[in-house]
Amino acid sequence: MHSPFALTVSANLDEDLKRLFDEAFPNECCGALFGSVGRDGDWHIDKAVGLTNCFGGDRTKAFAIAPQELSQAVRRERTYDLVGFFHSHPRGSHRPSIKDIAEAGPWPGYIQAIIASIDGKGPKPFFYFATADLWQPVPIRELILDD
C-alpha cells in the first residue's frame, strides 16, 4: 500500500471531527473514516463515524474502538471503503503517541487522524499515513477541501 500522494476530504469532515472532539471532551473520541481510493491512487475521505471508546481505564488519555461497533459501521457504510481511523488528544498534542503507533493495528496502510487543540485555538484534525514504525504526516498542501 503506497502512501497517499493526494488526500481530499468532504467539506463537512472537519466540522464533524471537531464536533466529535467536543462531544467526548475531556475523554478521547474515536471512530472510523470512510471513503475511497481512486484508480489513480488519490485518497478521499467522505465521512467520519464516531464509535464508542471502550478503553477500560482512563479515557481522557487512551481509547479502544469497540470491535463490534466497528463491524456494524462497516456494514452500514458499505457503499464506502474503510480507509482509516481517528481519535482525539484532548490535552493538546497533535502528534501520535508511542501508544498510538504501537497499537494502530496489525497492518500498515490506513489513514489515521488525530484531532487536537493546539494552543487553545480549538480542535483541528491532523492526518497521517500509518506505516509499521511511524505515522507520516500527510502534508497540508495535499489536503484539499472538496466542495
Binding site: 500500500m1 487512551a62 462497516v74 456494514r75 502528534r95 501520535p96 503517541s97 501508544k99 504501537a102 496489525p106
Partner: protein, 467 residues
C-alpha cells in the same frame, strides 16, 4: 459461496481484490482457502502457531467469531465474512516536541555482555521474527503486548532492561515506552539482533511444534504464558498419576487433553460398581477389570498422540523408587494416609514435586508439595491423624462431583508446574467446601526441622547460594 471482504491495506496481497469468493464451511477453512489463493497474505493474518494474529478480528454477519466458535465457526452461504483490525491508542505517553526515542540510551552487544547489572533482554519483535532465532536468555514480548505483559516478565522497575529488535529502530520506541511506564533503567541494543549476529554471537531457536500439534493445541499456543515452548514442555513431561480413582480420572484425562507426553497410571484396584458415581472413565461393562489398564484404553482413544504407562501395582517400599525414577512430577490421587506419606517421602528423596489432592464428603483440598524450596506434606502434617479421625472415602462417603472439582484443580497445578507460569499452590492449601460454595486458602511454611525434607532443603539452599 461466500464473499470475504478484504481490508484496504491487505488488497495489494490479493491482486487488488476487494472481495474474494470462497467455498468454505468454517471460518478457518475460509482463511485456508484465501491463503492458498494468495500465500503472501498469511503472515498478516495468521500467527505461526496457526491462530489469528493479535489485533485481527473476524466477523461473521456482524458477529465476532470469538463469541462463537473461533476459527471453527460454521458458515452458511448467506453469511458475510469480514476481517477488521482491532484499533486502540491514545495520548498517554505523548511524544511532545521531540522524537519518541531521543531519551533512550543505546548499548552495544559488548556492553550488554559486560554489564554487571544482569539486565533482562526483551525481544520486542513479532512472533515470526522470534521464531527465526533470538538472543540466548531473552524474553519475548511482541511490541504490541509490551505494556500489557512487561510486569509479568519484569516485576522490579529498578531492574536494567535491554530492548532489542531486528535493527534497533523499534526497540528504541519500545524502550521509550518502558521508560515512560517507570522502567527508568531501560536501554536499547544498538544495531539490534542484526549487529549481534554480525559480530559472530550465538542465537537460539525456539522449539518448533508439528502442524498436527499446532492444530490440536492451538488454544494453548495462543496463550503467551504457554505458547510453543510451553507445549513442547508438556509434550516432554513425564507425570505419574498415583491412584486411578475419583481424582485420577479427571487428572489423567485433562493431562492427556493438554498434551502431557508421558503419563503413568498406577493403581492395583479393579473397577467396582460403587466407583461409577464419580470415576467417569469406567462403565458398567468394565466392572471387575483393572483400573489402570481400563483407563489406559480409554485415554489412548482420547489422545492417541501421547504415551501411557499403565501399572497394576500397589506402591510400597520395594517398588516406589523404580516407579518414581521414570517421572518428573507426581500427582497424588490416593485416598489414604499410608500412601500419601510413602509418596511424599520418596518424592522428597528424588527431589520431585507432588501435586496433592484429597476429598471428604463435601470438602476438597489441593496443594503442591516439594516444589523448589517449598514445604512437603510432612511439613503440613508431620504425622497421620488417628484412624478414627480419618475415615476413608468408602466409610465417610463423598459427593460424586467433588473429586472432579479437586482433580481439575490438581491438573491445573500440574500444568502450571510443568510449563512454569503463575504461582503454584506451594505452601498454600486451597480448600473448597461444596455446601456453602466457599473457597479458602490455608498457608503453611516449610518446617526447618521436618524429618524428611529439612536435609534436602538445606542442600537446595546451598545450591541456590552458589548460583
Amino acid at each position: 459461496m461466500i464473499e470475504l471482504s478484504i481490508p484496504l491495506p491487505l488488497r495489494r496481497y490479493c491482486n487488488g481484490a476487494e472481495r474474494v469468493p470462497l467455498e468454505p464451511t468454517t471460518v478457518g477453512e475460509a482463511l485456508t482457502q484465501l491463503i492458498d489463493k494468495y500465500p503472501d497474505i498469511e503472515p498478516l493474518l495468521m500467527a505461526p502457531d496457526g491462530g489469528l494474529r493479535p489485533f485481527v478480528n473476524i466477523f461473521v454477519s456482524g458477529e465476532d467469531i470469538r463469541l462463537r466458535d473461533g476459527l471453527e465457526t460454521d458458515l452458511k452461504s448467506t453469511d458475510e465474512l469480514e476481517i477488521l483490525p482491532a484499533i486502540a491508542g491514545g495520548s498517554e505517553a505523548l511524544e511532545r516536541d521531540r522524537p519518541a526515542s531521543d531519551g533512550v540510551s543505546l548499548v552495544t552487544p559488548d556492553e550488554c555482555d559486560a554489564s554487571s547489572d544482569n539486565p533482562v533482554l526483551i525481544d520486542v519483535r513479532t512472533d515470526e521474527e522470534w521464531r527465526l532465532g533470538y538472543i540466548p536468555n531473552a524474553e519475548h514480548i511482541d511490541r504490541g503486548f509490551l505494556e500489557l505483559r512487561i510486569d509479568q516478565v519484569v516485576a522490579d522497575k529498578t531492574r536494567m532492561i535491554v530492548c532489542y529488535c531486528q535493527s534497533g529502530v523499534r526497540s528504541k520506541l519500545a524502550a521509550q515506552t518502558l521508560i515512560n511506564m517507570g522502567y527508568g533503567r531501560t536501554v536499547s541494543l544498538d544495531g539490534g539482533i542484526e549487529r549481534w549476529k554480525a559480530e559472530g554471537r550465538n542465537l537460539e531457536v525456539p522449539p518448533r511444534v508439528s502442524d498436527e500439534m499446532a492444530a490440536r493445541y492451538q488454544r494453548h499456543l495462543t496463550i503467551p504464558e504457554v505458547g510453543a515452548e510451553g507445549q513442547v514442555k508438556l509434550a516432554n513431561a513425564r507425570v505419574a498419576v498415583i491412584g486411578m480413582g475419583g481424582l485420577g480420572c479427571p487428572v489423567s484425562t485433562y493431562l492427556a487433553a493438554a498434551g502431557v507426553g508421558h503419563i503413568g497410571l498406577v493403581d492395583d484396584d479393579d473397577i467396582d460398581l460403587s466407583n461409577l458415581q464419580r470415576q467417569f472413565l469406567y462403565t458398567p461393562d468394565m466392572v471387575g477389570r483393572s483400573k489402570a489398564m481400563s483407563a489406559e484404553a480409554e485415554l489412548a482413544r482420547f489422545n492417541p498422540t501421547i504415551s501411557f504407562q499403565p501399572l497394576k501395582a500397589r506402591l510400597d517400599d520395594g517398588n516406589i523408587r523404580d516407579i518414581f525414577e521414570s517421572y518428573d512430577l507426581i500427582v497424588d490421587c490416593t485416598d489414604n494416609f499410608t500412601a500419601r506419606y510413602l509418596i511424599n517421602d520418596e518424592a522428597v528423596h528424588q527431589g520431585k514435586p507432588v501435586v496433592h489432592g484429597a476429598v471428604y464428603r463435601f470438602d476438597a483440598q489441593v496443594s503442591v508439595f516439594g516444589l523448589d524450596d517449598g514445604p512437603c506434606y510432612r511439613c503440613f502434617l508431620p504425622e497421620p491423624p488417628p484412624p478414627e479421625l480419618a475415615p476413608s472415602c468408602a466409610d465417610a462417603g463423598v459427593l460424586g462431583v467433588l473429586p472432579g472439582v479437586a482433580g481439575l484443580l490438581m491438573a491445573t497445578e500440574a500444568i502450571k508446574v510443568i510449563v512454569g507460569f503463575g504461582e503454584a499452590l506451594s505452601g498454600r492449601m486451597l480448600c473448597y467446601e461444596a455446601k456453602s460454595g466457599s473457597v479458602r486458602e490455608v498457608k503453611f511454611p516449610r518446617d526447618p526441622n521436618c524429618s524428611v525434607c529439612s536435609e534436602r532443603q538445606n542442600a537446595f539452599a546451598a545450591d541456590q547460594s552458589e548460583v
